[in-house]
Symmetry: C2
Amino acid sequence: MPTQRPATLQDVATAAGVSATTVSKFVNGQKRFSLEVETRIRAAIDALDYRQNPVARSMATGKTRVVGLAVLDIRNPHFTNIIQGASQVAEEHGYGLMVVDFKEKTFNAQNLLSTLALRVDGIIASSRLPQEALDELQRIGKPAVLFGQTDPDQPPAPILPSVRIQGYQAAFMLGKHLQESGRKHLVYLAYPQSRWNQERLHGLRDAMPDATIRVMELETQTMEAGERAAATALYGSEKVDAIVCYNDMIAIGLLHEACSLGVQVPEQIAIAGFDNVPVTRYLTPPLTTVDMCSEQQGEKAMELLLHIIKTGQIEPTELQLEPRLIVRASTGVQRKS
Amino acid sequence: MPTQRPATLQDVATAAGVSATTVSKFVNGQKRFSLEVETRIRAAIDALDYRQNPVARSMATGKTRVVGLAVLDIRNPHFTNIIQGASQVAEEHGYGLMVVDFKEKTFNAQNLLSTLALRVDGIIASSRLPQEALDELQRIGKPAVLFGQTDPDQPPAPILPSVRIQGYQAAFMLGKHLQESGRKHLVYLAYPQSRWNQERLHGLRDAMPDATIRVMELETQTMEAGERAAATALYGSEKVDAIVCYNDMIAIGLLHEACSLGVQVPEQIAIAGFDNVPVTRYLTPPLTTVDMCSEQQGEKAMELLLHIIKTGQIEPTELQLEPRLIVRASTGVQRKS
DNA sequence: GTGAAAGCGCTAACAG
DNA sequence: CTGTTAGCGCTTTCAC
């Protein structure tokens, strides 16, 4: 009997000889009942294999017990880690997760978000979404939490609660490290579509005031893009001794192609990225990067969101995480020349 | 006015001076109306900024327009690609996606699945889930599609529709390639928790009847596991000239550690994996692997599922995909010794 | 402690 | 083409 109409609360009530209200309260653990009633209900539930219909429950309560998570590109392990963290916490609290992948195409972000909004109790989204999308998120008036880099350049102070991490600081630390390793001629592989891009560049500049920094702009933030940019980055100007990439994906492609071209990393060129995507540790040479606490971002964002959902709290919180510089062989000692 | 009760269908109806039914039909594009009514409705919708409440709709129709996707480990890009493919198709058809990540811990899979089942119109799940979970999926009676390797050893023929790919064939092709490259002493890094593991081993054995094959069993299918297994795999027996891993994640860790230990890949040892995870192309040396059509699996599974949902079709389909051997430098020419 | 009644917002017959 | 009438399964006052 696989295809049989599932038992409803009413069915259970009838079977147990009580009212639907009572069963409802029992199921939701709202009160204790006379032992007799309790056992009758329990028996009926087992016998009928009853399970609460979440849709009906949602209809009555206005809560779905589902949260939405909007990421920019699910193929980037950085976002995967965020999902992982968020999903973990959601599950612990009995919440489901609806994932929307923007695939870096954000033209209809508003639509997707407002569609999503009606199905969920709250939304977690990247603060890198286009401004219109963020505005929409605010307009919607649902609990929402942003994650990602701080963005002090934003015209108005961010009004949505968020879990943030200092992009400037991350870049500054990396820059300092490169400078102390004696690097003087930098190429920065930029991803100008990201509003976090500028901050990273500023951090680098401030950390390396004496270095030359050439900026190359990429259209995408993929391994392929890094690969394609390699030759120009390496040979496009007189001197280069370090290349910093907008993120690890780009760095992975670049590192690979640099090695293919016979460049010695790090002896001739240092290479680094951002995010500390898990695979970077396993590259040859292992990639220097800055840990942006991806998984923790997801966890914290979800905790914050659930807190807001449950307490109905209004005032926007802002949680700061600390980026961590991860020095690996790809920025090791430079060969004396 | 951000926090205001959203307009209901009834509100629109009243504002437009028609009945709720009419508005409903209009919204769902079921019929055409007199131009006058149409413009009145449209105006009311705009004025009130009305949007359909999906929960109420679900309650009335019994359909949620959401599908569930259960993966074993979202941190494995193989699954990420599947999600990507599935999500793409779902979005095109106006369906939402609820993702459940089992994190390779499948002890409470049944529970998670039956919880998920009530919130969605159908479920896509890995055929690698434990048998109890698959039974549960069938018992639930919701549309469901499995993806993953074929598994001819299964006691009963698989009763659920599925998108499958020949694991045996994939392994056989890889084995043949290794054999033709002159490899004679194989180590297979197994992941016995996966029911696909055996088939891969069989494929290798059949393709390399003259080779010795030592099997090393791993507890997890991660890069770390591959890294830790490296020394034993390389030096644990007299002769080794090739190591095949259960999947690319393991291979990535192994490859890295092998290089760190000073082993020449592929001159001394060939290394290969399965899945064709995107990053494998960018390793040094690039990793030979077998493309298991991850993204396509996700796409096809979703197409199949949506088809079943829409037509209510019963008889279980089985779609076969063809694995593709991807030869890269990690299994290149062996040095004459 | 338990139950009766009134919806949540929408769709689905069936009439007109 | 448009409206009327019933629910979908559950929660929630508010009485008893």
